[in-house]
Symmetry: C2
Subunit: 475 residues, 2 copies
């Protein structure tokens, strides 16, 4: 469905990263703007990434014993107010249904911004005994948070996500689950998105509304800013008390359960784009790439070329490679640009001379290197190359992130650090005032707590530091 027979230009990644992002997401047809402000349409090339993310993540959930379910979109407004911090955090962002079926509703309903409340109300009905625990569920769903400033994938009024919700008999077990899912997310980011992350606990200011503790994974984008790519929440008994989730324990006593929740969203697609993209456009990690290899025939009209390309396509497809054959009438040069912009990990060129020599040419998008490969057994070579691309992309992103985590002893150093596109490690006393001061002075926020560090001073007040914080500007 390509409309124009030329490769459209994208802004320069280093001088105008925001425009580069907008150009890339629209021109590679990942996404388009919906008619209602702040909404996005996820086009087939973008949605295919999400399908791959879902498949990989869902397999990990099922391996962890988590079952999928589906809970209603609309939540009675009264549910939101039962947990005090929760309503404070989410009420300003909800979209409200006031009329339905031609009538005004007795109680306004809000479109779920997240589902702790409605799921909590069902859990309270389903759980009675310790034998019913743990409950481990997940749902793949759309949620809505009315945002003032929006950008495709990164922040839109509606987005797609998964939200896991579990109930446990003890706080220890719930905390263990919270950390286990954080580890699942981290492993997923590394393995499937070739994306290194920093993980850790969030500060009180940055935690989920209603949680006892939130843990996050943060990824470094091309411009050195941080993107929160997934969070897991230890909710303690907050929601159990608000929704009366009680169980009869082995000792005969009626006790409140301990709950957790955790989620990743279509934001991950934005993270992929901004972690790996380069001046030519997207660079897709092989595991979630909609197309892993594209075959471009050279001198396609010469005898046997197209036939050989089709045979190669069949062979790759049978070997489990997601492969496309571009047999359109565009020139090879045009096709090279187009598929490079779309970030397809491997391009396979095959022309009459290659055919005669029984080989083809492999171009890898990550390093822009070309190698020759025998047609016989090409499927093995392509699979191996895809594995190598995954590793190389991860190592490169990891090296960049590691090189751009700096240490600061003063607010001025911290400011210089984030302005230079770095994550900045600094001591923090633990008080909200000092955290706010950093935000005001350097437009940077605490991304994760980096473990206890009592030998340090707070970068703001100079008092003894309670922990080391990674500060950064963030999406």
């Amino acid at each position: 469905m390509a409309k124009d027979n030329f490769v459209e230009q994208i802004a320069d990644i280093d001088t105008d990263f925001p425009q580069w992002y907008t150009d890339v997401v629209v021109k590679t047809k990942l996404v388009d703007y919906g008619p209602v402000k702040g909404t996005m349409v996820i086009r087939p090339y973008g949605y295919a990434i999400w399908e791959n993310i879902q498949r990989e993540m869902d397999a990990r959930f099922k391996a962890a014993g988590i079952e999928n379910a589906y809970f209603p979109l609309l939540i009675p407004m009264s549910f939101m107010t039962r947990e005090a911090e929760h309503v404070e955090g989410f009420a300003p962002e909800v979209a409200v249904v006031t009329h339905a079926g031609g009538e005004k509703l007795a109680e306004p309903l809000c479109i779920r911004p997240t589902s702790e409340t409605i799921i909590g109300s069902m859990y309270s009905k389903w759980i009675q005994s310790y034998r019913d625990l743990p409950v481990l569920m997940n749902q793949w769903a759309n949620v809505m948070r009315w945002e003032k400033t929006t950008r495709p994938f990164l922040r839109t009024s509606e987005f797609l996500w998964q939200e896991g919700h579990t109930v446990h008999a003890s706080g220890e077990e719930a905390m263990e689950m919270t950390l286990k899912m954080l580890a699942v997310y981290e492993e997923f980011a590394c393995t499937c998105l070739a994306m290194p992350v920093l993980t850790g606990r969030k500060t009180e200011k940055e935690k989920f509304a209603g949680a006892v503790a939130t843990f996050g994974m943060e990824a470094m984008m091309h411009d050195g800013k941080s993107l929160q790519a997934g969070t897991t929440h230890y909710l303690g008994q907050n929601f159990a008390k608000a929704f009366d989730i009680k169980f009869l324990d082995k000792d005969g006593a009626l006790k409140y359960g301990y709950t957790t929740s955790f989620g990743v969203s279509t934001r991950l697609i934005g993270a992929i784009i901004m972690t790996h993209g380069d001046k030519r456009g997207l660079v897709m990690p092989p595991v979630v790439a909609p197309v892993q290899a594209v075959i471009v025939p050279i001198a396609a009209k010469k005898e046997g070329v197209l036939q050989a390309c089709r045979a190669l396509k069949e062979k790759l497809s049978a070997a489990g490679v997601r492969v496309a054959l571009d047999d359109s009438e565009n020139s090879p040069g045009w096709k090279f640009n187009e598929w490079e912009m779309k970030g397809v990990p491997v391009r396979i060129e095959l022309g009459p001379r290659d055919l005669e020599a029984g080989k083809c040419l492999l171009f890898r998008r990550d390093t822009l290197e070309k190698t020759e490969c025998a047609l016989d057994g090409a499927e093995g070579a392509v699979r191996a190359l895809l594995g190598d691309i995954s590793e190389t992309m991860y190592e490169r992103a990891k090296a960049r992130m590691d090189a751009r985590i700096v240490r600061a002893e003063t607010l001025e150093e911290l400011l210089a650090g984030v302005e230079g596109g770095n994550f900045v490690r600094a001591g923090w006393c633990g008080c909200r005032e000092c955290e706010d001061k950093v935000k005001e002075f350097a437009q940077a926020t605490a991304r994760v707590l980096d473990g206890e560090n009592t030998s340090d001073k707070c970068i703001v007040c100079g008092k003894k530091a309670e922990s080391t914080v990674v500060f950064a500007r963030a999406y």
Copy 2:
């Protein structure tokens, strides 16, 4: 997570089918009622069926060249009014968002009851030339239709579905697509749900609001009522004109495209339940059954029994069978009842004597027959049995439906027919008044047109019949 250590009773299927349905869906934990009237929670055992439906259907869409995408949940109210019949049909059922982000919205937004309008608005932006056609997209999404009377899976204010939306350069091609998708649905129903269907065109009265022609597949439920299990719509240029979907044709002229849409929903789960269920509860078709085989150890504490059960489970799982091992402390009798109610196609019993003889016992849920099977190669036997169960279930449902399609020459015969739990074939002149008369007299509606039949008389007015109609009472 079983709460009670006994099998709960369900109403008698033949004397109180509605109560049987409610009992079965709730007690097998397929579904529960949500806090907002008319909403449902799809529990893991129900959602697993939907996941299996999705996987099978999605593979068929992809094979037909259809790509998945995702369009926004909220549609500007003004979009709905652009197609006159469409707004008339859907406006009374929409849920309306009037406030969001703490403010009153300038224009009310409706939660999609279906997405022809918003997708049409995007297609008009994306399509310019005949080279962009056909456009073949689908989305898996939640939709909302505010209904007065609701029942889990059959009619709920929110439900999950897929909606396909295509654009073509000619009316012929669009009609071909409409009929092709009807055939895909029919093949899916037979193969995956073991459910025979009648397919055909709908009357003007029963067609989709905004369509030129609607085609449906109807399935016969246990009580002889009909359930519309899927529809495909030829929309002509109605939505193309309303949303300005135009393309520059090969001849240089600017033309409106021709569109189609088609959908199946979580209603299919209700159809499965009411087609195959019996007095013991659910009978799940093997292709979409969440659990295809359950292993029940007999005298589980005897040496080697549990070990052998676990080994068998591994073997079946490796052979691609979705298998569960019930090693709970309930008695075998309790387990038999429980898994029969849940409709698991095959139960495998394995005790010390079986083990000694190197065999196990297979119980098939559809015919309630037991056979012996050697442990060595049991995976092959179970797979073959699952295939046989699929076929037997289909044949049985087909024979029942065929036996219960009767012919009527008078309204009294038609009434007697539907009251007896039959589909009734009758001649129809084609006018709305006569169709309304049948509804009034027999509480039956025209399910599908059965092809032209000019030799017949209209069952109401006695004029020459334009076609034969299958009338039935319907869900």
